[in-house]
């Protein structure tokens, strides 16, 4: 019973017709830890993330965040509580500049937005933190570039920047290095490594290098259930995991 868990998931279940995408998932994530969720394709990782982030309503089970039951809350409310998510397929504002993108994320947590007169782009309380975060992820020089014109890897960095800009207590990262080349993913992994301990992160990833570098604990999702959960060493040694997963996956 991890009562000090920041994120506490019990008995989560979701079916699509006859398909049990999530089949009774129990998960706990402690404050400050980096928790990776791995699993073969089709294991139900996307569905799980969707339910944690508030995009999908579970059929059963509950989710507690910082002691509060958030199962019924929709995505925007969860974000306001400090549960932020990045998307596997880059989801940014393509027509806006990188700075605008991050500033919007800052704006969402900087009081209400029923302000009709003053240009948002002239508000230092939005622009300054946004610039700082862009610097932090390494996009400082690209602040005024239209997001659509950024390289793929830079767009993934922008995703992370937007997550950080909401000052989250817990970051839900859905395949942060998806589609990145070796150099880029190493840089991203290094960056995320720099966040270890300072932020609580739940990482869904295929890239095993990234997972074993970053994770404090790993949970293995197979056919909608968590079949094992523990430290990287424990997972590596776990025979069930080997057969179900590691034996088949040879590259990230």
């Amino acid at each position: 019973m991890a009562t000090d868990a920041l994120l506490d998931v019990r008995g989560l279940a979701k079916s699509f017709g006859a398909l049990r995408a999530t089949d009774g998932v129990d998960l706990d994530v402690r404050e400050g830890e980096t928790h990776a969720i791995i699993g073969p394709n089709g294991a139900g990782k996307t569905t799980l993330i969707g339910q944690l982030a508030g995009n999908l309503r579970p059929d059963a089970g509950r989710i507690r965040f910082a002691g509060e039951d958030i199962t019924a809350l929709a995505a925007p409310a969860r974000s306001r509580k400090g549960l932020a998510r990045s998307f596997q397929i880059t989801s940014i504002y393509r027509e806006f500049t990188a700075l605008d993108n991050v500033a919007l994320a800052v704006q969402a947590h900087a009081g209400h937005s029923f302000r009709f007169w003053r240009p948002a782009r002239s508000e230092p309380e939005l622009r300054d933190p946004a610039r700082a975060i862009l610097e932090e992820v390494g996009l400082g020089a690209r602040a005024d570039v239209r997001a659509a014109n950024l390289a793929h890897g830079e767009q993934r960095q922008l995703e992370i920047a937007m997550v950080l800009a909401t000052r989250p207590r817990l970051m839900l990262l859905d395949e942060p290095v998806a589609g990145m080349g070796t150099d880029e993913s190493q840089r991203m992994v290094r960056f995320l490594g720099g966040l270890k301990g300072k932020r609580t992160m739940v990482l869904v990833e295929h890239d095993m290098d990234a997972v074993f570098t970053l994770a404090d604990r790993i949970s293995v999702l197979v056919y909608g259930r968590i079949i094992a959960s523990g430290t990287p060493e424990e997972i590596r040694a776990n025979p069930e995991v080997r057969t179900a997963y590691l034996g088949e996956e040879t590259e990230g």
């Binding site: 929709a74 995505a75 998307f87 393509r94 302000r115 003053r118 948002a120 782009r121 937007m162």
Partner: protein, 315 residues
């Protein structure tokens, strides 16, 4: 660079519009005064639609209903003896805002095709309601015997003065929309259009903002309605007909979505085109129809998109 081109185009257009009365007087063609005043009134309506359609991505197919509400507010009050514009026009604004609130509260919850159909349905409902109320002319409509009175301010019976009033309001609303779309509020609306999932993920609940935008757009269009009824001195439920709504949408698209100048250009082009074609043949719609289809298929970015730099969000 593109910003400069846009601003220049904007200034040029406004100067041209401002020059119409003296030029019309010079050429002794009062018809042009009428035509361009009408264009500007519809430009205001298109501007209001652009706020929710162009910037907000809300495909409202019933926007003309607010022209009707504004017009009827003025017409009905006038019919009952209240001629003061100082009373009529605020009522027109409030009535339009309330109707927008009622329609929006239900429709804004939906999206996509549902939203299109629902806004269309509600606007037709009010159209049929207008037709069924015999007291105010039913489907024949009624005359506005006395224009809105603004003692001490402006005499709407003076064609030129009325023209400049409309012009002034157009400029005011263009400026207002410009401030709105660049404010925090406007950024949320635009973000929700650009990427709804991302907007929710960072913590915005778009509903309240969209509803607010819908109400503002409705109120603004209500002003256009009040202007329109004074312009034509006549009022019919046809103001609210869905074909009107379609025309407004075309003005927004033809002009260029998400630009300040777009709706003005769009209104001008569409109305001038209609005027030109109807001079040719009484069956001008059979030409306009396919023209519009072709415009949609091939000229997606609109006229403002032809300016250097292309179509960019915000000005």
């Amino acid at each position: 660079m593109n910003l400069r081109a846009r601003t220049l185009a904007l200034v040029v257009v406004l100067l041209l519009l401002a020059a119409v009365p003296p030029v019309a007087a010079l050429l002794d063609q009062p018809f042009y005064l009428d035509l361009f005043r009408r264009i500007m009134i519809f430009a205001i309506a298109a501007l209001s639609l652009n706020l929710i359609l162009g910037y907000g991505g809300m495909i409202s197919f019933g926007h003309a209903v607010f022209l009707g509400v504004g017009a009827y507010a003025v017409g009905v009050l006038s019919h009952h003896g209240i001629q003061s514009g100082y009373l009529q026009w605020p009522v027109a604004i409030v009535a339009s805002a309330l109707v927008a609130l009622a329609i929006g509260a239900i429709s804004v919850r939906t999206s996509g095709v549902y939203f299109i159909m629902i806004t269309l349905a509600f606007s037709q409902m009010l159209y049929y309601l207008g037709i069924s109320i015999e007291e105010y002319g039913g489907d024949d409509g009624m005359r506005l015997t006395v224009r809105s009175q603004f003692p001490g301010l402006v005499n709407l019976d003076d064609g030129t003065a009325f023209y400049y009033l409309v012009f002034g309001l157009l400029v005011f609303f263009m400026f207002l929309v410009h401030r709105l779309v660049n404010s925090r509020f406007g950024m949320v609306i635009r973000a929700a259009k650009s990427n709804e999932a991302r907007t929710r993920a960072i913590g915005f609940s778009p509903y309240a903002y969209r509803l607010m935008a819908f109400v503002i757009a409705g109120a603004m269009c209500g002003v256009a309605g009040a202007l329109l009824v004074n312009h034509t001195s006549y009022l019919t439920p046809e103001f609210m007909n869905w074909t009107r709504s379609g025309e407004l949408m075309f003005m927004v698209i033809l002009g260029g979505i998400g630009t300040t100048l777009g709706p003005v250009l769009g209104a001008a082009v569409l109305l001038l085109l209609e005027d030109f074609l109807s001079g040719w043949t009484v069956h001008w719609q059979i030409i306009l129809g396919p023209l519009l289809v072709l415009a949609v298929l091939f000229a997606k970015r609109g006229l403002a998109g032809l300016l250097p730099g292309g179509s960019r969000d915000g000005d």
